[in-house]
Symmetry: C2
Subunit: 394 residues, 2 copies
Amino acid sequence: MRNFEFYTPTKVIFGKDTHLQAGELVKEQHCKKVLVHYGGQSARKSGLLDEVFHSLDEAGIAYTELGGVVPNPRLSKVYEGIELCKKEGVDFILAVGGGSVIDSGKAIAYGLANPDIDVWDLYAKKTTAKACLPVGAILTIAAAGSEMSNSSVITNEKGWLKRGYNDDLCRCKFAILNPRLTYTLPQYQTESGCVDILMHTMERYFVNVETMEMTDSISESLMQTVIYNARILMREPGNYNARAEVMWAGSLSHNGLTGCGTGGGDWACHQLEHELGGMFDVAHGAGLAAIWGSWARYVYQENPDRFAQFATNVFDIPYDGLSPETTALRGIEAMEEFYRSIQMPTNLRELGLELTDEQIHQLAFKCSFEDTRTIGMFKQLNMKDMEKIYAMAR
Amino acid sequence: MRNFEFYTPTKVIFGKDTHLQAGELVKEQHCKKVLVHYGGQSARKSGLLDEVFHSLDEAGIAYTELGGVVPNPRLSKVYEGIELCKKEGVDFILAVGGGSVIDSGKAIAYGLANPDIDVWDLYAKKTTAKACLPVGAILTIAAAGSEMSNSSVITNEKGWLKRGYNDDLCRCKFAILNPRLTYTLPQYQTESGCVDILMHTMERYFVNVETMEMTDSISESLMQTVIYNARILMREPGNYNARAEVMWAGSLSHNGLTGCGTGGGDWACHQLEHELGGMFDVAHGAGLAAIWGSWARYVYQENPDRFAQFATNVFDIPYDGLSPETTALRGIEAMEEFYRSIQMPTNLRELGLELTDEQIHQLAFKCSFEDTRTIGMFKQLNMKDMEKIYAMAR
């Protein structure tokens, strides 16, 4: 197994009514003024925003607000947030929403704490951050894991580039996880979130190095928990326990725990999806589901035993001792069958994209940073490999 | 499931040669002078202390040292540490050892940061801490989990009272986990450590409330991992992977992860063992092993299904649908069989204690704080219950 670091300083407050503690939690941060950052109107209509404002008022915390964050959050909104916060003297960002809102909040926090750089330069990998304003989160979508992760992903409208930046500096000071806040999500978004959660573990699980039993068994447990509860949520969106299991799995899936000793993970599917998300604005989890099966079939022969372990331990598929390849393929099929059972796509057509050869080429060209990088660890993929996987997924 | 908080700010540096990073890690804490705190001579003889001093020298960190911490660490050593640190102007405690050394370091850190109180008053539950000096750990025994936990346990020689104090203030800033540092431990200590690790999860697992699937499955995975690798370490003490699995399980077992949603845990066995440790100075894990079976048989009928789940998911014992009690008892027997397989005691006699009725009574009297408190959550136990369990364990 590989050496590793594990660092998850985010204080998690989990359960019913926990969002009412927002004011107290912000107060512990000794800040002067808070930006309450959010997405569309659902947070307002549901009354959540009012409850948050009330909680801040009660704690005597001054605040300003900025809504309008969209999925695949935009750089222009980040710039708008930075300007607003400068004007208002904001020194704490409270993100109320899902991964897009938290990521947008993290980018604003980077921008404010690193005034000498264009914040996009972090995402373009031109420089690294020296500091980051403190961020807290009230989660309303179980999916991205940004509430406990060190990552954020922003889309630059110039060229529709979707790029991530990872740095421990941006880890949330606290994360309020109230499963009830996710009851009203559309089914498609709930299930897309479940795929995203699964993929954060699968990206770390499918590596081509000796792993840790402790990490493997946590990962397999997590995947089984999400698969089981994602199916329950298809028929019972108001099932508290199922919402809670998925929400907690979402945080654990991306806080580093499922990667301990595995050498960092593969992340090829995320890279491949980032181009889809940037160019076509698809739901992240659905995009991952549409790509995964093709990626898995393209790479599994590098280490069929690993895929066979996945099949056996996650889907209880009997291990075929004579042919781990057969077991591996049955595992890939089982995952795709699961995706279909929660109405997630298993190819790009089902995702709603009918792509031309030129578009496939363009995706691979962008994903390979114009044919200058490879992606993946389970199997290193160059631009040609990427093009083949996109084509397989058509 | 219950609402919960999860807070594990400790930065973990895990793997081969990681102790050589001690100087750098301390430097990141911006301190002026470090107390290097340790136990017996093994850390010196093995060359570990010299490597730590060298690493501090290279980072330009001033330090002083205090060794001599014994298992069931003593209050007198804590007082000695506080005086030394005051004199030397120490502002960071680096504990090099196992749980006893880290706990002693935490107590010293409390004492220095709360000069107005007698530090024992924290452990006697007379007051709470306002602050704590920062502590870091280089772990040499996988057992107590103190490197990531919020707890510390100190023994007061006056009355041989062994008492714990839990507070997030004392959570280590960093924990260096190098599995190789545990290679030279005597087998008894290695296996006693494995029991301690198991018990930190079992204390949280055996609760009489609705739990979380995610937490249950992590806990069951963790217990299986420790059981499997504890057996390997009986014949291969130098097996890196087995040492690593046990070491990481030790930290995860006690950092809060295995208690999420379970309402805090039972902890009766720990309380019962604390009196044994205080009065007879036994190895903590061995003391827990000697008590557990009797506790389990005394309480399991409160919720036989929970013990049956343990039997099925940890030991693969088939579930007897007509009688969960039978499955439950088979699980308890399987655990005791495991303890015997790693030469751990399953009663007080095997622990080396032949107790009189008066001593049994005395243990229960002290454990119940002179008949003024109950312990346990799976089943609340009063002084009479405690006396019966000690007697069953004879």
